[in-house]
Amino acid sequence: MSRGYFNEFGGRFVPETLIPALDELEEVYLELKEDPDFKAQLKSLLADYSGRPTSLYYAEQLSSHYGGAKIYLKREDLNHTGAHKINNTLGQILLAVKMGKKRIIAETGAGQHGVATATVAARFNLDCQVYMGTEDIERQALNVYKMEMLGAEVIPVTSGTQTLKDATNEAIRDWVTNVEDTHYIIGSVVGPHPYPMMVRDFQRIIGDETREQIMKKEGRLPDYILACVGGGSNAMGIFYPFVEDKEVNLVGIEASGSGIESGKHAATLSAGRVGVLHGSKSYLLQDEDGQIIPAYSISAGLDYPGVGPEHSYLKTIERVEYQSATDMEAVNAFRLLSEKEGIIPALESSHALSYLEKLAPELDSTAIIVVNLSGRGDKDINNFKKIREAEADA
């Protein structure tokens, strides 16, 4: 595999201005990755600051509701700031400090990555600006307040569809302009090399812990692992350590919004074509002229027309199966987990949970499913009005 590619997917399709920064980032990352001090510092931050390891919880009530497989939840929602995003931002902020950068920028959709970035920028005393589409600012207002409380500036993005895709464009433009003193903390396994590889490496702790925990609890590997896929970082994080274990079925669940047939969806791998967006070659939603088609999902964190290149690779080699869940299916799963287990999941994670309805009853009680509960749903409580409307329409 040549540098920065997963077979034909990946690469560095960016303006020349960014090449030196990507070279530097790759070099510093590869060096630090093996550095004992760096590893110890990151490990201690993940443990004492973020609260890792997160638990692997046997969801007994949910399992008996479906009457099939044993369901475990990998509780990434218990991380500091409420989602897996902090695993990546902690790693990247240490790199930024090492590279002597003075300023941090990020893009955010649901605001979880924005909050996780603002948090580590506060902790390491770096200036922080977060690009966020105006549509997302409205539907994820709580996270906007949090970012501001943390001392970050949220820059509203009014171009294009005013969601994650456009926030990413603006962040890249900012980086092109301020590349000498700024580090761009990308929030998922997307973007130009080395981001997809590096963010995956920072997120693989989810899968590494899961393996250890399930071996301890069950003495064997799970039959299925489910994760939602926006850009794909929580999914890559939990899948990656299991890719070689062929007996473990890996299922990524994308957001199909109002349904793939409706054209209003974010199911990039299920319904897209290969192209180049935000610096890498991967599946994406595009029309016959190659224009990017705006994605749609009730969940801001999945509302993205691209996907990480490694997912495109895992799809084409058929190692991971990609499915999708509609807004309604996610909302039902959101409610169900809240009621059965007393855990309010993020709407993003609810997409992964919703697939249990299809899968769990089909399996017998000896089967084991792990769902990556990528985040908690506090941020989505404001969406309840929308959720009720969606339910009323059904």
């Binding site: 303006p15 020349e16 090449i19 464009n169 092109v176 070659k281 595009q286 002229d289 190659g290 990017i292």
Partner: protein, 263 residues
């Protein structure tokens, strides 16, 4: 097709950028004629794209207007082919890699060469990415114009210059198109460094050149200059087609005068 480097002989050419299909392909045709009549030496035409991440607000908006009226790469190439006989200066297409990839790299090279297009600039396709485009363009004799920036390493300058043809696009600052801040503080040193690797390739300087004053400051260093956002803004101020075309003409005359006066 017309030769790009010929335009650098005996003068510092003015290269102008407009977005294809902004506000319509018919208007693009008229603007092309006006620009060449006013003495523009090379015309760059932007392929409208939904996510132009190397562009500032002016070209983003221009691209958006073009898309809203239904401009596609197919229609744009067809238009240029249609008016081929009337075009007297080299035409260069500038656009994002996804447009080309989606069109098909082989087909793209074939169709644009038949349309008489002389060169291509793809700002998000660095020299070391795996793309068939370079070979396909070469086979058709279409120039691939590559970009360098003030922070490009010497190793890359060498590689880029070796694969570039037509002219070498030197980005004036670290930024997007239309960034009107001052050019890179050590512009002279930057371009001298580029020249150590560029051999016979002429150097075009662009990004943020917004009027005669800026031209005066920079014109000594490059072999030609590229202007996009400022021209588009001048055109946009017009309320009618005639006004728009007259604005384009007046803008070009001012710049041409500045190039002549200060060179």
């Amino acid at each position: 097709m017309l030769n790009i480097s010929e335009q650098f002989k005996g003068k510092k050419p003015l290269i102008t950028y407009i977005s294809g299909g902004d506000p319509s392909l018919e208007m693009t045709e008229k603007i092309i004629y006006r620009l060449q009549d006013e003495g523009v030496d090379i015309i760059e035409i932007g392929i409208p794209f939904s996510d132009p991440l190397a562009d500032g607000p002016v070209i983003q908006a221009a691209s958006q207007r073009a898309l809203e009226n239904g401009t596609s790469l197919k229609k744009l190439i067809a238009k240029i082919k249609d008016i081929k006989a009337n075009v007297k200066v080299p035409i260069v297409l500038m656009g994002y890699y996804n447009s080309v990839l989606n069109y098909g790299e082989h087909q793209f090279a074939k169709d644009i060469s038949e349309a008489g297009i002389s060169g291509v600039i793809i700002p998000d396709l660095p020299v070391d990415e795996r793309a068939k485009l370079t070979e396909e363009l070469k086979a058709k004799g279409v120039s691939q114009i590559l970009l360098v920036t003030p922070n490009t390493s010497e190793k890359r300058l060498e590689e880029i210059a070796a694969k570039c043809s037509g002219f070498l696009y030197c980005v004036a600052l670290l930024g997007t198109t239309g960034d009107a801040r001052e050019p890179y503080p050590e512009l002279e040193g930057y371009l001298n460094r580029v020249r150590r690797f560029s051999g016979d390739l002429p150097l075009g300087l662009g990004f943020g050149i917004d009027g005669p004053e800026k031209v005066k400051k920079i014109i000594n260093y490059p072999d030609g200059i590229i202007i996009g956002s400022a021209l588009i803004e001048a055109i946009q101020i017009g309320n009618t087609e005639t006004e728009m075309l007259n604005n384009a003409g007046e803008f070009v005359r001012e710049i041409k005068r500045a190039i002549k006066d200060y060179s």
